[in-house]
Symmetry: C2
């Protein structure tokens, strides 16, 4: 029925590329934009374009930074510049920052190795990470990938690359999430929690 | 940590108003827009603004129509112009169109009565619906609200408004969804399916 509504069809198609908008929700989101007052919609577009103009990836750690400011992490004297937490992308960095328990710096990979999606090591900032280890006197690399097959493959690849360097490489602990019951957790997680148990 | 990234903070705030983007996903969506090539982002904004310029609500049934075309439903000679399906919004209309089993026309309310959200009958197109019944020779009104307390309240309100008119008013059937097991359905639905049982 969109054939009579070419402009709306275009909008729906554009929204289909935005992550986290399931196909069912796209019609509601389309309606949301159509119902905005014209000046509000113009403002929304201006904010998008301004962010695109002013926000770029830090040349060292690849986190986002404003064009006229130094990188929050790389320029901080309060942060331990010898500990680097490697994350897939900015949203995982935010999850780690929210804990308030990490005082080192970061390295954003830009994804994970995933041959099925055509993403190889050369599409990520892995070589830049290796160069940082060589040049910056980094003492520890924490590989904070997501617990997915691709995340594990990326950990394995980076681990091999750093094997002969004088740097400590660690991964996030796997196990039972805080506050959850054993019976409601999948068996692979319980198995990992068991086999990677820690001394009391 | 967004305090060092004012343009990105603005973008995140703008995205917070878009429906269906949970707070966790917003950072990923923000990154998606920042990673688009500049001309792709400009194109996205142009599509948004063009849809806003060219798509408007039909003055009769309030479904979306293109500015230079007639309403798909109101102008159709194949559709039964005496049966009107009343829906909350465009996305419910699409759900009904997808069944392929409805050949009447529509009336989009623009929401449901919800005093807590400050939405009263006068904020919806209920009076316009009553006027249509008076003027257009409509034979049946199908109230296809969502099965929510607000949907039920809206059905009750419209039902009262149309009580003395010479028009058949009906609602969607309530019951067990096709393909599902009784044991996995909430007890209120099972109760409704039982009390509103149909002859074999």
């Amino acid at each position: 029925m969109l054939k009579d509504l070419p402009s709306l069809e275009q909008l729906i198609k554009a929204l289909q590329h935005v992550p986290y908008l399931a196909s069912k929700n796209i019609y509601r989101v389309g309606s949301y934009f159509l119902q905005l007052e014209p000046h509000k919609l113009a403002q929304f577009c201006e904010i998008l374009l301004e962010a695109k103009r002013k926000v770029l990836a830090c040349e060292r750690c690849y986190t986002w930074r404003e064009i006229d400011r130094d990188c929050t992490f790389c320029s901080s004297i309060k942060r331990d510049q010898t500990t680097v937490c490697v994350v897939e992308s900015w949203q995982e960095l935010i999850a780690i920052e929210k804990t308030g328990g990490y005082q080192g710096i970061y390295h954003v990979l830009g994804g994970v190795i995933c041959p099925l999606d055509g993403v190889g090591p050369e599409d990520l900032t892995i070589q830049a990470l290796v160069d940082r280890v060589d040049k910056e006197g980094i003492k520890e690399i924490i590989l904070a990938m997501n617990q997915t097959p691709e995340g594990e493959a990326t950990i394995a690849y980076i681990g091999r690359k750093l094997k002969d360097k004088a740097v400590l490489v660690s991964c996030l602990a796997r196990g039972i999430p805080v506050g959850s019951h054993l019976e409601s957790i999948d068996r692979l997680t319980v198995y990992k929690a068991l086999s990677e148990r820690r001394p009391f």
